[in-house]
Symmetry: C2
Subunit: 415 residues, 2 copies
């Protein structure tokens, strides 16, 4: 008998039938004697319809009121689930953000959870209730205003609840079977990982693998919450996201990720003197644009080239800003390219193994893929390449690191 | 400069365009320097869709969860209104039941307001905010569970807020221009009343005129709230619902109401002895069925006939119960009739005037309409008739009491 937090995403509760199926699934846990906290997203499509409604009324909807509107999606899910649960003989209690006491800051649309006051949930659990919490929403700690946590916020709700309640496990039910070595749409031989550690998952998530929201992974790491990513539609085990110390076999490379949502900006002939980078990047960050990779070429003639990437959606704004600043700092030219992709390999096993980068570069070279930029961290190596080679690069890397094999070679064997 | 509570019904906020129009209407009041509290219903159709959704998931939806679901309708309206308000330069704040501190009992689906803690609303008003309250909803005072006030509940929300805030007036905006002397669909010459007192409005509401929810009228009477029923779609004055003392001209008959939603049950040959009525009606009231009119014929042979009316929707259940009890108390037979209607005349002026009933009976007789049952109170007379004569009766009575005339004759003149 354990305390289990389960989160079901929008597809899992996308129809009346599916909500009933999820209720039946939860019942099988209740029947085994577990204490259950169920976190639900809005039914698939509802969130987008609400956003559309908001934009019909205003080109720039008031953020506070947008959260009030958005929160209704999850509210409807938990109410419907509560009804289905009762029909199956469970005594469920739905809780909205203010009732579950999910206390956040006041950043509407992307609020952060400050604290969860768990008294009410604990009390309901002791009284044998299935607690059904509306994901994605909270309330401003000071005013009680409704807030939402942003896209993927229900994952965060679930992990935060699991942490606050010290749950045995946080199960994230979704429409895929777990975390794969790479996108199975690109590499059909991609293999489901049994385990992955928080750090690897963070890199995977931030590099574009969309299984689990990145903030929820950071939160899980912070509180040591074991996260089980699995499919609503099968009973098969998924992928356990756990502390590094729990990993049985540390793979040198656990996965290959890619991201086509960035664009590159190149500032040519920048005078090689102190303060230039600051003048260039301060306006960009002040505009709220996140810069990912930056590289600076060594210069020969007292001038250098600065290249960096920004999200594709911010490309036009960033180009506008840079084109204004470039002449002021004496740069020669500015060039932009939106046809790029970032391909990355991730693995905690690579921490102490120098051969990994070389193998990656060799693999790409063998396919005649030119590397435009390189960025590395302790557990990942990213290369920016021409977008059209993305799938080719992913397949080649997946193959080169033997990720399709039943048990990929451990770090020791490869190094 | 006054504190004004305005309530807009589902039709008034039925589309994005209409919500914008309502926001513009509110702005014209703000521009005049008034403090504004706006209470909104769910957009037309939304409440019914939610009920349908609930019934798709369960034949008998959990009442607690049904309220959680239903409350999302008004939540969406206030959020959308808040966005529209900001675009017009107003600083609006939407408040849900728990935020507006509308504290109720725990009767899900038909909760009663116990108390409204107005501190937050007053604070927002002093800071120049337009306060936008989700109608129809509150929270259980003890647990904070979401409750709803039942159909027409937004009227109740508005009047209760106006009472608690001591507002100058509570304006109920709807899709009709006010309270009419009778249903204009039946009598095109029906006239809009300038004033009506609470007692008359109560009788009108409970007899089937659907302009204003009956509980909101009772509440208005209790707190002396002046209610202005008017149309969202014109600027014309509507009808003021006020204390009797404010009525300038006390009409003997202010209106003719009708109700086709009742059915009649007749128990024949009931032994004329003490306790029989109790045995008959106790099970009915225990089943939650509300009996309206009861009549008992004088008996000749030690047996009597008991006739009463129940809501049409409860007719089958009531018949079942009565058919079980009737043999036990020695009654001879039970007969039911669903083809009946109740036609009523209402007016505070009739209190001291005996001629009114006679005039009503004469009018119906002249049209060859048989009166099956009669029920009277101080300010109304109701006759149960064959349903098919409803419109005929309403027209004849409206005409006989001169209600179409620009200024109907006052009680003094007729008596």
């Amino acid at each position: 008998m354990a305390l289990i937090v389960q989160k079901y995403g929008g597809t899992s509760v996308g129809t009346i039938e599916r909500i009933k199926n999820v209720a039946a699934k939860v019942k099988s846990y209740v029947d085994q004697g577990h204490h259950m906290v169920v976190v639900l997203s809005a039914m698939a499509g509802v969130t987008n319809s609400l956003i559309e409604l908001a934009h019909q009324i205003s080109p720039d909807p008031d953020p506070r009121e947008l959260d009030v509107l958005m929160a209704t999606g999850e509210q409807q899910s938990v109410a419907l689930f509560g009804m289905a649960a009762r029909d199956l003989g469970m005594t469920a209690r739905s809780l909205l953000g203010f009732q579950a006491a999910i206390l956040t800051d006041r950043m509407f649309g992307r609020a952060r959870i400050n604290h969860i006051a768990t008294e009410r949930i604990r009390d309901l659990l002791t009284r044998g209730r299935v607690v059904v919490v509306a994901g994605f929403q909270g309330v401003d700690e000071d005013t009680g205003d409704v807030t939402t946590l942003g896209r993927g916020g229900s994952d965060t709700s679930a992990v935060a609840l699991a942490g606050a309640l010290n749950a045995e496990v946080c199960e994230i039910y979704t429409d895929v079977e777990g975390v794969f070595t790479t996108d199975p749409n690109v590499v059909p031989a991609a293999r489901k990982l049994k385990q992955i550690c928080y750090e690897e998952m963070l890199e995977m998530a931030s590099l574009g693998a969309k299984v689990l929201d990145i903030r929820s992974v950071a939160l899980a790491a912070k509180f040591g919450v074991k996260v089980h990513v699995r499919s609503t539609f099968t009973d098969r085990e998924g992928t356990m996201v756990v502390p590094e110390t729990h990993i049985d076999e540390k793979l040198m490379v656990s996965g290959v990720a890619y991201n086509k949502n960035e664009a590159r900006i190149k500032v040519l002939g920048v005078p090689d003197q102190p303060g230039v980078a600051m003048k260039l990047f301060t306006p960009i960050s002040q505009a709220g644009i996140v810069i990912d990779v930056i590289i600076q070429n060594t210069s020969a003639d007292g001038a250098t080239d600065l290249t960096f990437t920004v999200p594709k959606t911010d490309f036009d704004r960033a180009m506008g800003l840079i084109k204004e600043i470039a002449p002021q700092i004496g740069a020669r030219d500015v060039k932009g390219d939106t046809n790029i992709a970032k391909v990355s390999i991730i693995g905690i096993g690579m921490r102490n193994h120098a051969g990994v980068a070389t193998k990656m570069f060799t693999t790409l070279a063998r396919e005649n893929i030119n590397i435009q930029m390189i960025n590395t961290s302790e557990i990942k190596i990213s290369c920016v390449i021409d977008e059209k080679y993305t799938e080719l690069a992913v397949r080649a890397l997946h193959d080169a690191f033997g990720l399709a094999e039943e048990s990929a070679p451990a770090a020791e064997e490869v190094a």
